[in-house]
């Protein structure tokens, strides 16, 4: 079952007063399997937040369709199964965290939510500040409260827009653990973040949005390893000239080399190296980090 199914999703913000219309989404196709953690990454202005808002009905799409958990996002029964943490979340400053959660519980149709509210506050580390006015909270505390609101009612789909924004490193680790527990429970986590390290740690699949289009999408491992670059380490004393002739490029340390080519060419080069007396002690695919994957995708789409 698909938790998110967007087909040809488009959004054009109308211009006006001398401004040209802005195409934020240009036909986005994206499918997210239920029970997985999916990360949407892309440069600033790529349309990530517009995409999130479009699938939730906060922004009216100009074209295409979006379905959440098999239903129409406009249906309140569907939205009752979704937890959303928006970017730059604001709360009524005069209310306490407890009041805010009680209000969200009522609007989600959870009644008074009973013991779940203190449990959620405990989970996000706000149990000690539950009675304080939200207006006196730090940015990180507000973010934690937003997360607690999103988690209320154990939703089937969590849509989180920059969830670790404003959090200190230890809190980020806690949030990662919390999201991992949600996925283990069977929930789908859709993460929209510009923090690639966070996405890399939490998500198993990633989509790259550039200029309103999904330019790459797949398992994280596939995206990172979608390269024909290899790292090879030879025993010290290997004949460098022969290795160079076989196509190996010197690396950043003695004995370390790189090779660009498909597996067949790599094996042929290794045969030539071994014939010249070199001994291979380590061979691995030169996996790119997510930053490099994103940079390549942006460059390719330019």
């Amino acid at each position: 079952m698909l938790a998110i199914d967007a087909r040809g999703l488009a959004k054009t913000y109308p211009g006006g007063l001398g401004r040209a219309p802005h195409e934020a989404l240009r036909g986005v196709d994206l499918a997210v399997e239920a029970g997985t953690a999916f990360g949407l990454i892309g440069p600033n202005g790529a349309g990530k937040t517009t995409f999130v808002k479009s699938i939730l009905g906060v922004v009216r799409p100009s074209g295409g369709t979006a379905r959440l958990l098999g239903g129409d996002p406009a249906d309140p029964r569907v939205r009752a199964r979704v937890g959303y943490l928006p970017e730059r979340l604001q709360f009524p400053p005069a209310l306490s965290a407890h009041d805010v959660l009680r209000s969200v519980a009522r609007l989600k149709g959870l009644g008074r939510a009973g013991p779940e509210i203190p449990r959620r506050l405990e989970e996000v580390g706000l149990a000690g500040a539950a009675g304080r006015r939200v207006g006196a909270y730090s940015k990180g505390m507000r973010q934690r409260l937003g997360l607690a609101c999103a988690l209320l009612g154990a939703p089937d789909l969590l849509v989180l827009d920059e969830p670790t924004d404003g959090l200190d490193p230890l809190a980020r680790v806690e949030v990662r653990g919390l999201l991992a527990r949600e996925v283990a429970r069977g929930a789908t986590v859709f993460l929209n973040s510009h923090l690639l390290a966070e996405t890399e740690r939490v998500c198993t699949r990633v989509g790259i949005l550039v200029d309103g289009r999904v330019v790459r999408e797949g398992r994280l491992g596939e995206l990172r390893e979608g390269t024909s670059r290899w790292r090879v380490r030879f025993e010290p004393g290997a004949p460098e000239a022969a290795l160079g002739a076989a196509g190996f490029l010197p690396g950043d340390a003695p004995g370390r080399f790189a090779f660009e080519g498909e597996p067949g060419a790599l094996n042929a080069a290794l045969d030539r190296a071994r014939a010249a007396g070199a001994l291979v002690v380590e061979l691995s695919r030169d996996a790119k980090d997510l930053e490099q994957v994103l940079a390549d995708a942006v460059e390719a789409s330019a």
């Binding site: 906060v58 922004v59 959303y84 730059r88 009524p92 005069a94 209310l95 009522r106 609007l107």
Partner: protein, 277 residues
């Protein structure tokens, strides 16, 4: 149910706001000052003398309930227009805050329909104004009752009428906030409609100030569509003074005012349904 939940949330928020609390405290201080400063000398059910902060107001000896009618009528006017002013000032930023970036997105992603948010805000504000005006009206009634032994329904009736009159005013404020998220513009729209409604309520008198022609026709056309707020405001003093009320006239005034409010609310909902956040 959702509408009520949104309304109650708004009241909780209002209860925690210093601005709203300060307005209620100011109203309380006025009533306390009135209670301390106003003295009536009632002898055998007749008002012998009235003193405000020690100064004799020079009243004739009359039956107290008759003598105090002008006072109750004036109080009803104060509660009516004070309630409306309190409403405009105290509630101008509720809708802009509700629609602020970072808050509205979270609300719209909940199982809440857009019209329910607007309707809930409207109901919450109406309850707040009704509560504020009723508090003022009841407090003044209580003070006068303790001082004279006379209970007059005028000030409390004025609170109920103020709540009806505030409906189109706040609907205009709400619709304006949806179009342009600004507390100042929202309050400006409310005050403009309030003034327009005062003029419209007296259009029969004011029209005589215009020479026959295009100006008079324009005045009549513009004021024809506006709710007759000042005419509505005259109902409670009439109750206070014991004057007979034409029930049909009062009902027509209230119905027209509420219809105007519903039309403005519908406009606001329509704009909200089309809006991206």
């Amino acid at each position: 149910m959702i509408v009520l939940a949104v309304a109650l949330d708004l009241l909780r928020e209002a209860r925690s706001r210093r601005w709203v609390l300060a307005l209620l405290a100011a109203a309380t201080l006025l009533v306390v000052a009135l209670a301390l400063g106003l003295r009536f000398e009632v002898v055998d059910g007749a008002l012998a003398a009235t003193r405000l902060f020690g100064g004799d107001l020079g009243t004739d000896v009359r039956a107290v309930d008759v003598a105090l009618r002008p006072l109750f009528a004036a109080t009803a006017y104060v509660v009516f227009y004070g309630g409306l002013a309190f409403g405009v000032v105290a509630t101008a930023d509720f809708a802009p805050t509700l629609l602020s970036p970072g808050r509205i997105e979270a609300l719209l992603a909940l199982p809440v329909r857009r019209w329910q948010l607007l309707a809930g805000t409207f109901v919450g504000v109406e309850l707040l104004v009704l509560g504020g005006a009723a508090y003022g009206g009841a407090a003044v009634t209580a003070v006068l009752w303790l001082k004279t032994g006379v209970v007059n329904p005028g000030p409390v009736a004025a609170a109920a009428v103020a709540c009806v009159a505030f409906a189109p005013v706040y609907a205009a404020m709400l619709a304006t906030a949806v179009l342009a998220r600004s507390a100042a513009l929202s309050a400006g729209a409310g005050l403009a409609l309030l003034l327009g409604g005062i003029v419209a309520g007296a259009r029969g008198v004011l029209v005589e100030l215009f020479e026959p022609g295009a100006g008079r026709a324009a005045f009549l056309a513009v004021t024809a569509v506006l709710p007759r707020l000042s005419a509505l405001g005259n109902l409670a003093p009439a109750v206070a003074e014991g004057r007979p009320l034409a029930a049909g006239h009062a009902a027509a005034l209230a119905a027209g005012t509420l219809a105007f409010a519903v039309a403005l609310l519908a406009l606001g909902v329509d704009r909200l349904e089309r809006k991206d956040f």
